[in-house]
Symmetry: C2
Subunit: 333 residues, 2 copies
């Protein structure tokens, strides 16, 4: 059983995934040959190589057969396990609990060689709908306090398989960085009785200098204090705290914004690796006035070095006003 352990100083929880335990030799980097496509566990026809699916949108076929357009399966090497009790315990001065949670893979398309910037918009919209369906299903389990949806695209961003996929992790605690964001937004709300993200949308839409694109439902912006060059946020214009409560037209518009933003990033930076994260409110909370769901995209262009992880203080060589201009001007012809 994986363990959750709490750093006694900062309160940060860490998953000790001892079922994936690795010996020192497993970390020594050796050149890896890419597996033949026939071996990809996410390709149609290879359904038996993954755990049984928990969701699929299909044009044909039965459970765990080809014919799906989007397929969601538990991770074969999960960082957390869904069965069991949290069993919170002390260990001397320390705190731990069982690594209860869910870790799922959203296989975004049967097509091994494509990516979000090439997929048709309805396909991206189906991926977003799968995110939504899985969150709405998992949140009925009250042990799960937070659900994170993310995508690592490209090896430099941590992807270990090429086939387009995203991940979902449901956690029994609200992670520290999320708490920080929630606390900051709550503090602003208590002072001004306004959502800070709504203010950001208004200011950025009016100023335009950090705006990448704008539709009737979304803005894509470079944030004022980005940690990474070309860090890009996508925010809904209408206040909403939970991604999973978005309606169909919103997801349709989001699919368009996402695709066009990633195409601009690809055009400007020659198809970089990137991380993509959905920031949404804790799933067991009702709609929140002070928090606003959004998406953060970080191209992996610079290495995060000792300074950054030691301090949480980032050095970014590209002012967001400049990266916004490059992205706005990227022609998608």
């Amino acid at each position: 059983m994986p363990q959750l352990r709490k750093d006694p100083i900062t309160g940060r929880w860490v998953i000790i995934a001892n079922e994936r335990a690795r010996r020192p030799t497993d970390f020594i980097r050796r050149p890896v040959a890419s597996p033949a496509a026939a071996l990809c566990p996410f390709d149609p026809g290879n359904e038996a190589k993954t755990p049984p699916e928990v969701l699929a949108y299909r044009s044909s076929g039965g459970r765990d057969e080809p014919g799906w357009r989007v397929r969601v399966v538990p991770n074969k090497f999960p960082a957390l396990r869904i069965e069991g009790d949290l069993d919170r315990q002390g260990e001397g001065m320390y705190d731990k609990m069982n690594g209860i949670g869910a870790h799922e893979i959203v296989i975004e398309t049967p097509d091994h060689g494509t990516s979000w910037s090439e997929m048709p918009e309805p396909q991206i919209q189906e991926v977003l709908r799968a995110f939504q369906d899985r969150v709405n299903d998992l949140k009925r389990d009250h042990r799960f306090r937070y659900i994170i949806l993310f995508k690592n695209h490209g090896e430099a961003a941590g992807a270990s398989l090429e086939h387009p996929h995203s991940q979902l992790i449901a956690l029994p605690v609200v992670p520290e960085n999320v708490k920080e964001e929630l606390d900051g937004a709550l503090q602003f709300y208590e002072q001004k009785e306004r959502c800070i993200f709504c203010d950001i949308v208004t200011q950025e839409s009016a100023a335009g200098v950090r705006l990448v694109s704008e539709t009737d439902r979304f803005v894509a912006i470079e944030p004022y204090a980005p940690r990474f060059p070309f860090e890009t946020w996508i925010l809904p214009k209408r206040h909403s705290s939970h991604f999973e409560s978005s309606d169909g037209p919103t997801l349709e518009n989001l699919a368009w914004v996402l695709r066009s933003t990633l195409r601009k990033i690809n055009k400007t930076l020659e198809r970089p690796a990137y991380n993509f994260i959905v920031h949404s409110a804790p799933v067991q909370e009702g709609p929140l006035n002070y928090y606003h769901w959004h998406i953060e995209i970080a191209p992996r262009l610079t290495r995060i070095a000792g300074f950054e992880w030691g301090t949480g203080f980032y050095i970014n060589p590209t002012p967001p006003e400049e990266s916004a201009r490059f992205l706005r001007e990227a022609s998608l012809g």
Copy 2:
């Protein structure tokens, strides 16, 4: 002038280093040929390729000439600048100030091809003394609230030059992660009237399962909730909040512990890249009862992916009890 910008939601400061500004094409990765050693700006004889030295320990020669054993120079492409006023300003709803600070390079040895695990201990001790001397000099400038000492070893850890060197950054604010550590330690102290790090030293020394090595002045341990496989902390046994106030015998013993710990890591993991950070109290504060300086070493074995930076919640595949055992058993013969 570089800028410090504050994320309005989390309060996290970011350095927008616009003097190092990079265009999109600068980020596109192309294979880099290693420069011939004659071109290394840190080699003896190439002193003119760096800004003038701010400190050197010499066996011979004059300022900016060969003959030094350790040499400290300002970074040629500093993230922060030492001249000017902070000039705190608002920008709409946002906060910014000038990027005032210091960014220095500690050139640890004239020998281009060595590393800490191969250097003689007196050389490491001189590097530690240079850290101390620079912090004690810079802290007299009251604009600097925090000084971080760190080392990126190897390309995967963010090092861009091979020649052994460390870095120092003096900041006009205390970074978020440091504040978190200080706040957590203060909370413990207020409850128990004991330093939490002193308690950790006592518990780990007694339990032994996460202990890597122990001298009369230091313990090297794997922390209870490590973010990274083989993350290793070195803590002084006697309470002390500020690294820079360490005495000679302490630095001598630290040089021994550091060298032996890095040799164990090299032996176990085949010379991995690593980040090394000195965690010390804010320089303008007097001795603190509740905070305890220490060193954190993180071998760069896994990639930090979207999940980690989105949540501050780490997945670590190696329990610290196992990594401690591997390091204890590494023979240095």
